[in-house]
């Protein structure tokens, strides 16, 4: 497909992107529009990053870095893609870099500490509620570990597909790859998860 056709299609779809319009107002110096975007996306971005790095303080720091970068690059912002695509591209880039730098080792230890010594495992009594919570916590740990064991890009693709409800085309733009590559990533990731979580049926 010629480049101008793609650009034209992109412009058409962006015509209804209210977030991009807000960002253009931020570009013009409107701080209130930035506050609106922050309020709208800070939770979902932070949750995405938490599931990527599985460390709450690190996820919050990275989320702050995402919005700081959004603010800093306001003057050069051009609505060439959906705002959320741009936002998650920054978030994914930061998360993948953090994981690549091997800073996750300490985070993993922290996660282990929580599961070993966390308040949920300090069983004070044996009421059904506590047992239920324990079973739930064990299941949650299994889910987290299964997701953490996925290769970084597969993990990012699954999280965007499952929790952010992005379609293949948008995930492809965030990860800077083709749609068929995204389908392949997702199939391999879910295949691994089906094996690891089969006992949870």
């Amino acid at each position: 497909m010629p480049q101008w056709v793609k650009e034209d299609m992109g412009a058409t779809s962006l015509a209804f992107d209210g977030d991009a319009e807000l960002m253009l107002r931020v570009k013009d110096g409107d701080g209130a529009s930035f506050a609106l975007l922050l309020e709208k996306y800070r939770v979902s971005v932070a949750h995405f990053l938490y599931r990527m790095v599985q460390d709450q303080p690190v996820a919050e720091e990275l989320a702050q870095e995402v919005f700081l970068r959004v603010y800093k690059s306001r003057e050069s912002y051009e609505p060439t893609a959906k705002f959320t695509t741009w936002l998650y591209r920054i978030a994914t880039h930061l998360a993948l870099n953090w994981l690549r730098d091997g800073k996750n080792e300490r985070g993993q230890e922290r996660l282990d500490e929580v599961t070993e010594d966390g308040p949920v495992r300090e069983v004070a009594d044996r009421t059904p509620t506590v047992e239920h919570q324990m079973v739930r916590r064990v299941k949650l740990d299994e889910v987290r570990q299964a997701v953490a064991a996925l290769p970084d890009k597969q993990r990012a693709a699954v999280l965007m597909h499952k929790y952010e409800e992005m379609d293949y085309s948008q995930i492809a733009k965030v990860l800077s790859c083709s749609e068929s590559a995204v389908k392949s990533l997702l199939f391999r990731a879910y295949e691994t998860l089906r094996v690891r979580l089969a006992h949870m049926a």
């Binding site: 922050l38 938490y50 700081l68 949870m200």
Partner: protein, 155 residues
């Protein structure tokens, strides 16, 4: 329809169907196929287990001071006053001017400005030599009278 697992065609339909996100004609087509295909039925069943398990993964709430910390970082990241914003671009220019002035001053001829240190440096070894000679002479003079006094006087 062709089996998505056997033919690899429209495999993503299985994922979307398992997630309950496949609508309309595609969903009903796949539903009919799944009813007759044990492999696809198994896939959907297992994928739904994964989907439900992922759905139980709750995340911690954000810190209450998330926005405050962010705005603090934003404040730090940008110039604090209009004066700073005005002068900041001029800093490299000022540094360049300073460098030019410094290089001009250092390259200027120094002969008429302060000749004393140069002469002092050239004279210094001579002075040291002279002082050493003087010291030697004094030592010899101080030894000579003593020797004279120790020698017995002829009667």
């Amino acid at each position: 329809m062709n089996c998505p697992i056997k033919t690899q065609e429209n495999r993503e339909w299985l994922l979307e169907y398992s997630a309950g996100r496949l609508d309309g004609e595609r969903a009903s087509m796949l539903e009919r196929h799944v009813a007759d295909c044990p492999a696809c039925a198994r896939f959907v069943e297992e994928q739904r287990v994964v989907w439900d398990a992922l759905g139980q993964w709750e995340t911690p709430e954000l810190s209450a001071d998330f926005n405050r910390r962010l705005y603090l970082k934003i404040d730090r990241a940008q110039p604090s006053s209009w004066l700073q914003r005005f002068w900041r671009p001029l800093v490299p220019v000022a540094a360049l001017c300073l460098l030019i002035v410094a290089s001009v001053v250092l390259r200027a001829p120094t002969a008429g400005l302060n000749p004393v240190p140069a002469r002092a440096e050239s004279v210094e070894p001579e002075q040291v030599e002279r002082t050493l000679d003087d010291l030697q002479m004094l030592r010899e003079l101080s030894i000579a009278p003593n020797q004279e006094s120790k020698t017995p006087q002829p009667m």
